[in-house]
Amino acid sequence: MSVNLKLSPAAKVIAGREAENFLNDVNGVTAVVIATVDGFDVASAMRAGDAARVAAMASSISAISSVVSQEANLGRNKSVTIDTESGFAMVYSVHRDDAELVINVIADGSAILGQVAYRIAQFARVLAEA
């Protein structure tokens, strides 16, 4: 299987660099995976785990959130947060002309939800304009 990714090489470099920064800067974050909407990982930074699986799940969550927002006439989907007993996962959509992407962040219980939400939105803006 070969992936024909239309994403510009410059954007891919920025995605990788920003993922590393995100992981290192924000307390409690354990994984940052940037994926295509059909579930292929483009760039990632993670302490443990499998970026390919995270990418596939992120694309499913994003696609389901997209259809929910359409059915409810709520405009384009932006993000989904899965809150858990010991942390949370956040999936954020990035709309670009050359590629639709999703950013997936996994964080443990020590992370602050608002801080991750702020940072992921900032990351999405940078990536949309890269």
């Binding site: 299987m1 070969s2 992936v3 024909n4 990714l5 239309k6 295509t36 909407v37 059909d38 579930g39 292929f40 390919a52 699986r53 596939a56 799940m57 694309s59 499913s60 696609a63 389901i64 997209s66 259809v67 059915e71 590629a99 639709e100």
Partner: protein, 178 residues
């Protein structure tokens, strides 16, 4: 009135989304996105689920759920197959190894196939006669399965209904415990 949940699975590009769209009475819920996988020429692919509904002459309702085809989405296969009454596996005979494709689903859904009826729909058999229906039946036998195999064009409503009827006939014949 009974409500049946039926699962559509099978190879990427075999027509799961098309099949559900062909028979659904309500606009189907579709979660397809741009496809970046070069081994398939199709433009869009399902990454979440498809959903459609239709009513039988008896008044019974069928709720149809479609899975993504690619095995990297196998976590959804388990979620979507829960409480299904039957499963339809679609294959695409124009692919390089349709029997290999079939094996992915026979193995991925092995636990479900032990407890629910299943029908196999082969697409594009007219233009691509090999493997034949007999080859499919032999492949199923190698997995200790005896399942109905039908040639279908999932763009045609009647063909999709025939697949569903084949499942329901197995249920009515009491081949599977309630």
């Amino acid at each position: 009135m009974n409500e049946y949940k039926i699962l559509f699975t099978g190879t990427m590009g075999a027509g799961k989304t098309t099949a559900i769209g062909a028979v659904s009475e309500t606009p189907p819920i579709v979660t397809d996105v741009v496809n970046n996988d070069q081994s398939h020429t199709k433009e869009r692919t399902t990454v979440g689920l498809d959903f459609g509904q239709f009513t039988l002459d008896s008044g019974d309702r069928i709720r149809m759920f479609g899975t993504p085809g690619q095995s990297r989405f196998d976590f959804l296969w388990k979620i979507l197959s829960k409480n299904a009454l039957g499963m339809i596996i679609l294959t695409d005979n124009s692919r390089p190894d349709p029997l290999g494709d079939l094996r992915v689903y026979l193995e991925g859904f092995a636990d479900d196939l032990d407890i629910m009826p299943c029908a196999i729909g082969i697409g594009r058999l007219d233009d691509h006669p090999s493997p034949s229906m007999d080859d499919y039946i032999e492949e199923l036998a190698r997995h200790n399965r005896v399942l109905p195999v039908l040639q279908v064009d999932v763009r045609k409503k009647d063909d999709v209904i025939l697949l569903i009827d084949t499942l329901l006939a197995q249920l009515e014949a009491g081949m599977f415990g309630e």
